[in-house]
């Protein structure tokens, strides 16, 4: 299925869950936050969060800034 991850097109098999996607993007989950379709999903809920066609996923962490 087709998703948008961090603003870019992304392919995932049907039935994929958030946990795997995050693991693929960030080796270490500490300091990572995730939003799906504009709502934050707590880390504890990643395993149980199914992803669907067209979902917009943001996976962010701290970066140097002013």
């Amino acid at each position: 299925m087709h998703l948008s991850v961090n603003g870019r097109p992304h392919e995932l098999p049907e039935g994929a869950v958030l946990n795997g996607l995050v693991a693929a993007l960030a080796a270490d989950p500490r300091g990572i936050a995730v939003a799906v379709n504009g709502s934050v999903v707590h880390a504890a809920d990643w395993p149980a969060t199914a992803l669907y066609e067209g979902d917009r996923v943001e996976v962010v962490t701290a970066h140097q800034g002013g």
Binding site: N6, L25, R30, G31, V40, A62, H63, Q64
Partner: protein
């Protein structure tokens, strides 16, 4: 100075533009900041991810910002993600009107501030030198106000010192000068004008020697704070002798 009951050193540092984590370590050691700011960015764009580890090893408080957000909705989501990622409900709230001037959009800022306060955030808004807007930010529950001295990264210092004095007089929360500082003298001036802290980013991170500049800023902010309490002499139109005129030789 205190935010939400917590004592903080009066120099606050941004981290954007530092070229290595080692420089981050040395700048923080030299500046002994009350906190350092970080931005939230997509993992795919952040490169080296160990900034947080570095900062927590230093034991310095981290303040996430919403830098670059152009509307209240974006800023609120970024703040929510920051709380989740960093485990802090403090946020430097930045909502800009356009990507060129980087000046605050006070209408969107007020909306975002009210929303975030309602969700339990400790909101520190980057705002203009407008005392009426500052009062409104306090009315919706902000923990401090952070007026700009001049545009972000411009190094032009405090373009109109009177605006900072009026913001200071308008609110009873801490006032933190944010944006525009280029030199220690300008940081000291901010404190002399009544600010409780000064946030410096580019002036340190893009100086030729960020470590020495961080130390200079720390000293200057302390100097300005001491001076405010020490009661400066009045400005005078005419001169006043500092040596006695009586008893001069030959007169």
């Amino acid at each position: 100075m205190q935010i939400a009951g917590e004592e903080l050193a009066p120099l606050w540092l941004g981290t954007g533009g530092l070229t290595s984590l080692e420089t981050v370590r040395r700048v923080v050691a030299a500046g002994a900041p009350g906190l350092v700011t970080v931005s939230l960015r997509r993992v795919s764009d952040t490169g080296d991810g160990s900034l947080l580890a570095t900062l927590s090893a230093l034991g310095v408080r981290v303040l996430p910002n919403t830098a670059g957000c152009l509307g209240a909705r974006e800023a609120v989501l970024t703040a929510e993600l920051a709380r989740e990622a960093l485990g802090t409900d403090w946020v430097k709230l930045e909502v800009i009107g356009d990507e060129h001037s980087l000046l605050p959009d006070v209408v969107e800022l007020l909306e975002a501030a009210e929303t975030l306060v309602g969700r339990g955030f400790t909101v520190l808004p980057y705002t203009t030198g407008d005392p009426v807007v500052a009062r409104r930010l306090v009315d919706v529950g902000c923990a401090a106000v952070m007026p700009l001295g001049s545009p972000i990264g411009s190094g032009r210092g405090i373009a109109d010192p009177h605006t900072i004095e009026t913001v200071r007089a308008a609110v009873d929360v801490p006032v933190v000068l944010d944006a525009g500082i280029g030199t220690p003298s300008e940081a000291a001036q901010a404190m002399e004008l009544g600010c409780d802290a000064v946030l410096v980013a580019t002036a340190v991170t893009r100086a030729e020697d960020p470590v020495v500049m961080a130390r200079a800023m720390r000293l200057a902010v302390e100097a300005g704070g001491l001076a405010r309490g020490a009661g400066r002499i009045p400005r005078r139109e005419s001169a006043r002798a500092s040596s006695p005129m009586r008893g001069r030789v030959g007169r």
